[in-house]
Symmetry: C2
């Protein structure tokens, strides 16, 4: 059972190691209203770390659902200028961002997909040039989770409310590396170093492409961009502030060549796309683009994801996660990408992380595209890793080097 | 005990009668995060009434207290342009405003008064020209309350949490005229008509000044502005939408002549000024201005209230409330101005309501001042009514007409 002490340690961890709040820095927290008690702990820690101010952006999926039910598509597509100006002014002040996830997976299942697409498209279009702030790590950001009753009942539908909540809480704290007795900041420092070691080795190999195979039927080649940089275990802002954008994180990730993916891939876990849970799906790629796909559930949502904009049907990220990661070992399907992506190798459609290309963070969109990078207003991960997954790295000279065997790193 | 049904009726009352939401109108709700369950009822009612969109501005006094504790005065005084633009764009869209009060009285008692003054001054200065939207009834607005545990324990400190909460809930619903069996919309329509009748009679008398006396020691002359209009029982927007800005409301109110108040007045109830509870205070006026005052508790807060700006030590409102009003008859001191002002005659420092002057809503600030109206960035009510209060109306020709005897209207 998760104690008050562990919640205190989590709040401290997120502030000190997650975003690594600097003295005089504004802190923006995105949170659900039902998490208010915990949010206040985070706010206090942020102030104690010297935050200039802490601003909480509250949200609630019941209100979001009502908005989609009652507002017209026209109204939903209105994004007032002040919303842009607000985020812009936070960026100009050098703010850092904390997001606390705890929503019920699939909470938006009944919302009108067409309206959601229109609203999301309008929002991303308006905000497009502001997305670089976090995507390029110009300021620190951190996404992590805490349990909620709604979420717990989706993960453990057969348990009582209390049992499900406790079990989800135990799992979240375990994979976030917070225990009753440990020093989570020290534990994360050690973990980051190990991940940085993996990324270093992958960078030394200079692979041209990766070949994924699994018994599910996956047989996929993913070409890597030239001058790619494998990353993992924390990031640096241009000012040199080290932070951990995801808690948990178990991935080494890299940038695919936009036109370099060919073959078929089977998803190994469901994907929550704006509250719609897409299940049992596969995709076939030709020269980087998805040319065929199917899903047993929410195929329409998958179609919307892929057709969101031109870059949505091309890859923006490839990530290697050992099947032996704590999230995977927990055996729990969290129905939440932050967790599930750290249980399994995954790919992402859409926008890539410029940090995965040498000099990428200083490049314009055009320069990134010239280097073969994908571009999109969204970035959507989906899981492909399995217990039996094998990955070979193929170098320019044709050398084949085993990277994964049976779901885990060979080296 | 307040039933779920009564909460539903209250939500409906506020939407249909309080702000009287019009089809296609944006609705902005200010609420505390701990009231989320009830807020969702209001949001649903607003959508069902045809709201264009409903936006909830969540607040929490723990976060506000932390802001005052940790932020510097310099940071607290920064009001970003987007905040102004946001409110301005809501006004341009013709939004209406619902505020739900439930905070613990005196919740900001430990906050740094000097910082609060600086922050409030900065905020009011920045927003000054936007205040007319609600002060002049350009758009509909409604303030009402629901019980909270924190508030209940202040009102009934000797009861258990549950008993206090239930008792405060019963009182709030009673004075807001919502019962298990009634039709609150019809009840409010009847009540509004009665209040409008009182105001009509007062307008016919064309008093030059009122003379307040009570055994507490009050002996005060309040001059009324020429061409004054007594109001009460709802308002109209320029577009002709009728609404009830306060629930409860029991007052007939008017505009004092800025320089027309002389004598001494004793407050009959405490005053919550930005979370500081000012108690047992009196004020002496000369030619409209407070020239001497004292308070047994939070005198510093009273001093800040009066010195906030030039108009803060002059009156902006005089309001007559029968001692027999339901709020008064409840015998409960709510420690919340919305309720306590409707239990007793009261005055307000600062900004007047332009609707209380013939043609006032169309006048510039300069024109209002030429007519003898006060001006200020704030508007702060304080209660003076007692069981034994007598009020005489004095006409230009010297005629004295009894208005109140022993706390109630003579007519």
């Amino acid at each position: 059972m998760v104690s008050e002490n562990m919640y205190n340690k989590l709040a401290e961890l997120v502030v000190r190691k997650g975003v690594n709040v600097q003295k005089g820095q504004p802190v923006i927290i995105n949170a659900n209203i039902h998490d208010a008690a915990f949010v206040k702990k985070v706010v206090k820690c942020a102030y104690e770390a010297g935050a200039k101010y802490v601003s909480v952006e509250w949200s609630d999926l019941d209100l979001t659902n009502m908005a989609y039910e009652y507002q017209t598509a026209e109204v939903l597509a209105e994004v007032p200028q002040w919303k842009y100006d607000k985020t812009k002014s936070q960026h100009d002040e050098g703010a850092c961002y904390i997001s606390i996830t705890s929503e019920k997976p699939g909470a938006m299942a009944d919302a009108d997909s067409e309206k959601m697409k229109i609203a999301n498209m309008a929002y991303y279009s308006k905000m497009k040039d502001l997305a670089a702030y976090t995507m390029n790590n110009e300021g620190q950001w951190c996404v992590f989770g805490i349990p909620s009753y709604d979420w717990a009942k989706v993960v453990f539908p057969d348990l009582s409310d209390e049992e499900a909540y406790e079990k989800l809480g135990d799992a979240i704290f375990a994979v976030t590396r917070v225990t009753e007795d440990n020093d989570p900041v020290a534990e994360w420092t050690r973990h980051d170093e190990e991940m940085i070691g993996h990324a270093k080795k992958l960078n030394e190999y200079r692979f041209e492409k990766l070949h994924f195979t699994s018994e599910l039927g996956t047989d996929l080649y993913v070409g890597l961009i030239e001058d790619h940089i494998w990353a993992g275990g924390g990031c640096y802002t241009p000012a040199g502030v080290f932070f951990d954008p995801n808690m948990p994180t178990e991935e080494c990730f890299c940038m695919p060549l936009k036109t370099g993916t060919d073959g078929i891939v089977y998803a190994s876990k469901p994907l929550d796309y704006h509250g719609k849970l897409i299940e049992d799906f596969w995709l076939r790629f030709e020269k980087g683009r998805v040319v065929e796909f199917d899903a047993k559930k929410e195929k329409e949502a998958l179609e919307q994801l892929l057709s969101f904009d031109e870059g949505s049907s091309y890859l923006g990220e490839v990530a290697l996660v050992p099947y032996d990661s704590p999230v995977s070992r927990s055996g729990i399907l969290f129905f939440n990408t932050l967790y599930d992506e750290n249980a399994a190798c995954h790919l992402a459609f859409g926008r890539p992380y410029p940090e995965n290309l040498a000099g990428g963070c200083d490049m314009t969109e055009e320069e990134l595209a010239q280097h073969g990078a994908n571009d999109s207003m969204q970035h959507e991960d989906f899981m492909i890793g399995t217990k039996d997954m094998n990955i070979d790295g193929i170098r320019k000279d044709g050398t084949v080097i085993p990277v994964f065997r049976n779901g885990n790193f060979v080296f």
